[in-house]
């Protein structure tokens, strides 16, 4: 397995807040890397730094061996990096099909309109939106919009997918379905870096997990290692009672 994304020593400060501090992480080809941490740990900022929404103050981001530090989002998307947003960003006045076509036309796939629609149909089928293609994005439910985010990112045929809390706000049945979808995407050869608060999901999906706290890395390891790491339990999972750790696994 080679490294697809290598983040080395990135930092970002917003005024008086050091949102991310000297963070390094690596996503390998074809793996699911979980990114967890308490609220305000800087997880979403890490995503925004990786996909170019903000340039990092310090550090380097290398994707597929190419330095993409400081490049704007539209260029990074073309390299093959797609993402979903924690707060969904549907193009509300456009249909689901049109939303995803934007992804297929302008992302890594960079297809003309006609073939783009074919790719969108595939992506819609993977996430289960096939029968909503002609609906306006604004009319979808929360779960529908989350799926749209995923379908749109997938339509770009990315090599790395950043998922920012795609399970938040979904009910248990929807979560089960989404977990299956995410597995399917990984099995299709797309590496995934995901932020998630639903512990059961992240523990079962991730190959490895990085734990953030106060903008820096607290721990890194397999889900089993993370669940039994005393620092993580203290900072994130709650009071160090043995039951909490076993429930996490």
């Amino acid at each position: 397995m080679t490294a697809l994304l290598e983040v080395t020593g990135i930092s970002k400060r917003f005024g008086g807040l050091q949102a991310v501090h000297d963070l390094s992480l690596t996503v390998l080809d074809g793996e699911i890397l979980g990114l967890i941490g308490p609220n305000g740990a800087g997880k979403s900022t890490v995503f925004n730094l990786i996909n170019g929404v903000y340039p990092p103050d310090k550090g380097r981001i290398v994707f597929k061996g190419q330095d993409i530090t400081g490049e704007p989002p539209y260029r990074i998307a073309r390299h093959g990096l797609a993402r979903t947003h924690q707060i969904v960003q549907p193009l509300v006045g456009m249909t689901v099909l049109e939303n995803c076509t934007v992804g297929a036309c302008f992302g890594r796939a960079h297809l003309p309109l006609g073939p783009a629609r074919e790719v969108v149909r595939e992506a819609a089928e993977i996430v289960g939106l096939t029968d909503r293609l002609d609906d306006l994005a604004g009319q979808l439910t929360t779960a529908g919009k989350k799926r749209l985010e995923l379908a749109r990112a997938l339509s770009a045929r990315p090599e790395l997918l950043l998922l920012d809390e795609v399970l938040a706000g979904l009910n248990p049945t929807e979560i089960e379905r989404m977990i299956t979808v995410i597995r399917r995407i990984r099995d299709g050869g797309i590496a995934i870096l995901m932020i998630e608060h639903v512990m059961r999901a992240i523990m079962s999906l991730s190959d490895r997990i990085v734990v953030l706290n106060l903008g820096g890395k607290l721990a890194e390891g397999t889900p089993r290692e993370i669940a039994s790491n005393p620092d993580v339990i203290a900072a994130y999972l709650g009071e160090p009672e043995p039951t909490a750790a076993s429930r996490g696994v």
């Binding site: 260029r75 456009m94 309109l113």
Partner: protein, 350 residues
């Protein structure tokens, strides 16, 4: 890794198919087969034939103004409706195109069509340069900057002696000779303006049906999300701004050639800019039909108001009230209302 191949494999097939689309130029192919294309052609034909058949000069003059405004509104719609940027100073393209064309015809004795074409190209290039600069601004700041551009150009032209400064340029009757004398020239210019109007409608429609248009619409919906999806937002916005300058500049050239005089006040009239915005919003932001219909209806309404004694001084008051009413009660304009009531119409029109 085998599963990887299958997902990517299917999409490779789709990518291969794209070559076929490229071969026949997908947009031309797409719009050629659409009834809307023929509707546009029909409108153009009606504009050309109706006054010509009866040699009806009065009708021609009224339709000429409508055709000019349909051109301005359709092109403004590319920036305002598709991309979501309020260009308050859109009239600068019209005025600057008018000046360049009139100057080339009167001083350099260029033929009209060449002068108008050069006016279109040069204004379009200028807009590209301006666009790359001011389109970094968003919302109200962009709107203010466009007013600034119009006022700056107006101030420059007012002091630019080769273009006659504040008094402007008057065309001598001789310039109409190559077109068969003033009377015949009026008809020729009218037909050219109708052609430019038809071209504007085609352009609006072609852009809306294209990948370029999809990118613009995505920017209009949510610029940040569009960038994350890979739309090169700075370039796309500048291109939209530049493209939307081309035909208005040409129509400005033709219009001021026809009136025989161009001066800064008439060429860079901010009121006309605002009226064009009202037209687009009246018809329906982002719709090809709406921009054209809004321009036509507003122009006809104004014609009625101007010739009605009681209202002749209230034309702008009415425009203001109309804009207020649309923004408050019908943000989708006429087409928004029609599409809402009869969704099937959406498939036929654009």
């Amino acid at each position: 890794m085998a599963a990887h191949k299958s997902f990517q494999g299917a999409t490779e097939a789709a990518a291969l198919k794209s070559k076929e689309y490229r071969g026949v130029s997908p947009i031309i192919w797409h719009i050629w087969r659409r009834p809307f294309t023929w509707l546009i052609a029909l409108v153009g034909l009606a504009f050309a034939l109706l006054p010509a058949l009866g040699d009806n000069v009065q009708l021609r003059e009224s339709l000429l103004l409508a055709a000019v405004y349909i051109t301005l509104a359709s092109n403004l719609n590319i920036v305002l409706g598709y991309t979501g940027y309020v260009n308050f100073g859109n009239i600068v393209f019209f005025g600057l195109g008018g000046y360049i064309c009139v100057y080339l015809v009167s001083e350099w004795l260029w033929p009209l069509s060449a002068a108008a074409l050069i006016a279109g190209i040069s204004v379009s290039l200028l807009a590209l340069i301006f666009g790359l600069g001011i389109l970094r601004l968003r919302g109200a700041f962009f709107a203010l900057a466009t007013i600034g551009v119009n006022e700056a150009v107006k101030a420059f032209v007012s002091n630019f002696e080769p273009w006659g400064g504040a008094t402007g340029i008057y065309l001598s009757l001789e310039v109409y000779e190559p077109l068969g004398g003033p009377r015949q020239a009026l008809w020729t210019v009218y037909f050219l303006i109708v052609a430019v109007m038809t071209g504007s409608l085609f352009l609006s429609y072609a852009i809306k049906s294209s990948k370029f248009g999809l990118g613009l619409l995505a920017i209009g919906e949510n610029e940040d999300a569009a960038a994350v999806l890979g739309v090169h937002t700075p370039l796309y916005k500048a291109l939209a701004y530049s493209v939307s300058a081309f035909l208005p500049a040409i129509v400005g050239g033709l219009f001021f050639f026809k009136t025989g005089i161009i001066e800064p006040g008439g060429a860079f009239d901010l009121t006309r800019s605002i009226e064009t915005i009202v037209m687009v919003m009246l018809g329906g932001l982002g719709t090809v039909t709406g921009a054209a219909l809004g321009a036509f209806l507003y122009e006809e309404l104004r014609g009625v108001l101007l010739t009605t004694e009681a209202f002749s001084h209230f034309q702008l008051v009415i425009a203001g009230l109309l804009l207020l009413g649309i923004v408050l009660f019908a943000p989708g304009g006429l087409m928004g209302f029609i599409y809402g009531r009869w969704p099937r119409v959406r498939r036929l029109l654009a």
